[in-house]
């Protein structure tokens, strides 16, 4: 019975990770990925590893989506410039 | 920069220092001399940075 919270959070991690793979648009994928970061941090806390959860929070909740969105933006701009030159 | 703005800036930095040092004392678990010294110096650096940042933002 005490493991119910672990089971619930593991199910959430599985569902979120599957969704992150299934979503195709990179911007929407970044949104799912930031939710996945938070859920993973909760999983590490539930498994009594709060130090790992702390670093996961620091990286996963803001930094990963920021890098992804900046990359998408740069790639789109480059594609637009190329389209204009041709 | 005249004398009045300097005084105002010093007062603002002091207010930041008080708030940040109080925050440090709240967030640590055991309060001893070393923690107080570290907190006071870190709060000083952060107060200077906060004053400078606010000046830059309000001058825009």
């Amino acid at each position: 019975m005490a493991d119910a919270v672990i089971v619930v959070v593991l199910l959430l991690v599985g569902a979120t990770a599957t969704t992150a793979v299934a979503v195709r648009d990179p911007e929407r994928q970044a949104l799912v990925l930031s939710v996945l970061g938070v859920v993973l941090a909760v999983l590490f806390t539930v498994l009594q590893a709060p130090d790992v959860g702390l670093s996961q929070l620091a990286v996963g909740s803001a930094l990963t989506p920021l890098l992804l969105l900046l990359t998408v933006r740069k790639v789109r701009r480059r594609a637009q410039d190329k389209g204009r030159q041709e | 920069m005249n004398r009045r703005t300097t005084l105002l800036l010093a007062a603002e930095a002091l207010a930041w220092w008080c708030a940040l040092a109080a925050l440090w004392l709240v967030l640590i678990s055991t309060v001893d001399t070393l923690e107080r010294v570290v907190g006071a110096s870190v709060a000083g650096v952060a107060a200077l940075a906060a004053t400078a940042a606010r000046r830059v933002v309000s001058a825009r």
Binding site: M1, A2, A4, V5, V8, V9, L12, A15, T16, T19, A22, V23, E27, R28, A30, L31, V32, S34, V35, V38, V39, A41, V42, T45, V46, Q48, P50, G53, L54, L57, A58, S61, A62, P65, L66, L69, L70, R73 | L23, L25, V26, L27, S29
Partner: protein, 150 residues
Amino acid sequence: MNGWILAATVALGTGLGTALWGVATGPLRRRVVAQNMSTALACPALLLLSQGYARPSYVDLALVLALLGPVGTLVFARLLADDLADDPPRAWGVTWVVAGFGAVVVGAVCAATGPSPEMVKLLVIGALLIGGNVLASRALSGGFPGAGRG
């Protein structure tokens, strides 16, 4: 398994499950709101877990999440500003419900802690959580005109 962990389990299962469903389907404006709600729900759940495991140091996780969750939402609000400008998300009902849940959890954990420096820390976390959440919702709904330059 005590009441705190049970409450955290229910909050995580229903709250984050709903947030996951919201972030996986629907238009973009609903997805960003659901992402904001997921951080605002996970933070009270972490507080409940810290109380349930009787480990006050676990509260640091909730503190970091209360600081960084709104920062992540502001990243989306800034970089998706062009896509969100056409139909800005308006979800003040959800925002205030989640903020109220956070306030209730912080109040309950404070009552269990009793007056001490830890209680002040919990109140700081609650203020950061609710303030950051409301600020992020306002930024998403285009409440800061002129901030989306560049």
